[in-house]
């Protein structure tokens, strides 16, 4: 399986976007690259110290490896990708408003009703409750992979609490400091306005009852959460308070934060706590992370939660397979971004095909995430395949299958020098009352092991700066 290379295409050409970078790489002595890489790491530890607490035993693992060679996209490539992202997120929000409202898409038979109603993430609390401006998914992270010069596939929609945006920003910061000469020869679109856009988005969805200067806070599960440093980083950049559940209280359906000057009313909460834990009165009663009564305040229209409760129903893997139809139904347009072809094992014909071709396919649990509960056929042994065969026969509705994708590769500085490694891309899409915004680029994740397709940081993945060239 020969993958498309971001720099050389099929391996023989030099794609224009990488021309200057290629020249620079050829001139740069390997020792210089090695030096810069160690400087980058040092720099990360130093600025990272604001959130990555490397003094802890476990935290050295939290420094995700950073690759100094950027991933480059041209303006036309990005423009098309961005149009696709906007369309996709528009559809996601319309889908959510529909399944919690009139349910037109179910009536029209676009998606089987049980996939919605029996979905663990479908929140009855949200049925017939109107959220401000019909926006549910204010912050989305759409994972895309590239397979050739023109084709991006959406691998996954993250509609709950996508993370990683702090890496996008810090990666750029490091690159600007280490390679100023590269930025003078490339016109790279900036990403450092992300916090401003996020703040504008959050302000725009404040409840009607709030003042013209709404109070916003970021709700974190606390310092033991693996993404705590990102929460702290974002709160700092947004200039809003970073609160834990115990910092908030609800009185007469109004949310307040406990301050040294007494209770202060809160209008918008950018929450990085999952639905299940956000309110022990509404959901898991054993949650100590949440705020008792916050759902009551939310439904009374006195506070906006971003993202809304119940968005998980839209990024489920089984629902994912219907996204092309969902996009078409709600926007009336052909989907710009493709889905990875997906076999729904709940359909007997598809399941029969999957069972016959397990060694070629990737099989995923419908409700799984983070690479767990997954079978990668080409890399699996017989026993693993047989285990999945039994699972698939027992409960086919719990699984989907996809062909193994040839993710594009990008030149990466590894031990043996500069070599191609597989990458994906997570752009961040913001939806507010004033429309959709998306900073150019996003977070590129790279599988540092040769041939590996797994970009997850827990399995040896790293990150790269992502450049969108302005001209």
């Amino acid at each position: 399986m020969v993958a498309f290379d971001e720099m050389t295409g099929s391996g023989t050409e030099l794609r224009p976007a990488y021309a200057a970078l290629d020249r620079w790489l050829k001139e740069a002595p390997p020792e210089m690259l090695a030096l810069r890489r160690s400087q980058a790491e040092l720099f990360f530890r130093r600025i990272g110290i604001t959130f990555a607490v490397y003094g802890d035993e476990e935290s050295t693992e939290r420094l995700i490896p950073f690759d100094i060679i950027p991933r480059v996209l041209t303006k036309p490539e990005w423009t098309k990708l961005e149009a696709g992202l906007r369309q996709r997120v528009t559809a996601l929000n319309m889908f959510l408003a529909d399944v919690y409202g009139p349910k037109e898409c179910l009536k029209a038979g676009i998606i089987p009703p049980d996939l919605v109603y029996r979905n663990a993430c479908y929140q009855l609390e949200m049925v017939d409750f109107k959220v401000p401006h019909d926006i549910y998914c204010h912050i989305a992270g759409i994972d895309v992979v590239r397979v050739d010069a023109d084709t991006f596939y959406v691998l996954e929609d993250n509609a709950r609490t996508p993370s990683g945006v702090s890496y996008m920003m810090e990666n750029r910061e490091v690159m600007l400091r280490l390679f100023p000469e590269l930025f003078s020869t490339h016109r790279v679109a900036p990403v450092d306005n992300y916090p401003d856009q996020l703040l504008a988005t959050l302000r725009s969805v404040a409840p009607r009852s709030s003042s013209s200067d709404p109070t916003i806070c970021l709700l974190t599960p606390g310092q033991y959460n693996s993404a705590f440093y990102e929460h702290s980083f974002l709160a700092d950049k947004l200039g809003v308070e970073l609160v834990e559940g115990s910092d908030l209280l609800v009185k007469d359906d109004v949310v307040y934060m406990r301050t040294t000057q007494g209770p202060k009313r809160v209008d918008v909460i950018y929450r990085r706590i999952d639905d299940d834990f956000i309110d022990p009165l509404a959901f898991r009663s054993d949650s100590v992370l949440g705020v008792p009564g916050i759902i009551g305040a939310y439904k009374a229209g006195n506070v906006t939660l971003a993202n809304a409760v119940g968005t998980g129903v839209a990024d489920d893997k089984a629902v994912y397979s219907y996204m092309p139809e969902i996009v078409k139904f709600f926007t009336g347009e052909e989907p710009i971004l493709k889905n990875v072809p997906t076999y729904r094992c709940r359909e007997p014909e598809a399941n029969a095909y999957v069972l016959d071709n397990l060694e070629k396919l990737v099989v995923k649990e419908v409700n799984g995430s983070g690479g767990y509960g997954m079978l990668v056929g080409p890399h699996a042994n017989k026993a693993q395949i047989e285990t999945f065969r039994r699972k698939l026969k027992a409960s086919p509705e719990g699984f989907i299958a996809q062909p193994t994708l040839a993710l594009s590769t990008c030149p990466t500085f590894v031990a043996s020098g500069v070599a191609p490694r597989h990458v994906d891309l997570r752009p961040y899409v913001l939806s507010g009352a004033n429309g959709i915004s998306c900073v150019p680029g996003g977070l590129t994740r790279v599988a540092l092991k040769e041939g590996s397709l797994v970009v997850n940081s827990s399995q040896g993945g790293g990150t790269k700066d992502t450049w969108v060239l302005d001209a």
Partner: protein, 313 residues
Amino acid sequence: MLSRTADSLYWVSRYVERAEYLARILDATTRLTNLPTTYGGAGTEWQSAVLTAGCEEAFAKAYGEANERNVCDFLTFNPDNPSSIRNCLAQARSNARAVRTALTSEMWDALNGAWLELQRFEKKRMDREEFARFLDWVKNVSLVFDGSAYRTMLRDDSYWFSRLGVYLERADNTARILDVKYHVLLPADEQVGGSLDYFQWTTVLREVSALTAYHWVYREAVKPILVADLLVLNRRMPRSLAACYENISRFLDALGDAYGRQGAAQRQARKTLASLSNTRIDDVFVHGLHEFIEEFITENNRLGHTIFEQYLQ
């Protein structure tokens, strides 16, 4: 600001101050016990160190005898003693981490660096020399942290809450030393012990790093009543009760002004400060030094609680 943030800032400073205080007690006690017995006390110095650290119950549970090894272990690295130096620095860092962005990077570096360094000390086998180096290091951590706060923090409520932590803890520490050692400062002891108590008095001064200051202020040999005067009433002495309350009152007033509201904490601090200002050391002795100190410790705890109720919860 968030009450939790203020609370954490306040406790970060308290824990760092307490760690330094523990190091001072251990340092002074080691000196005292090294004296030939003809100059020294009754052999109860280590017991007295435990009392001064305010953890006699926990110590009694963990160990039988108060000897050098047990006490040093308990007050430095023992993970089960909530007030060991190790746990004070751990608590300081954990509180700091929760409010990372409210601290300046210098303050964070001081604490995080200390935490890393502490683990290196913890792994070492310590002889007396190494132990002395460790105590010096702890005092230095506090100096660096305190200096960073002083030099880098914005003068707003976060600074004021962090200062309140320092001075409430410091007032408590100084008062505890006096509470344990008051008997050697009583005039009656002069007749009984005579100059034997001299080294007890200098130990008290050492515990608050005031031996040199004493000579500069009083320009005479160490006398118990003047030691008490220096530690209780002298505002020039940065660890005296009066100096602590001058600062507490000042920072509480700054908060009151900034927030446009005075409260019970301000009134209480002013009252204590006024009473310290209007007292002469002779009156304290007439009234009873022990009773005076006990009252002060109770009042100081009460103020801590009032500050908590007014701002931190």
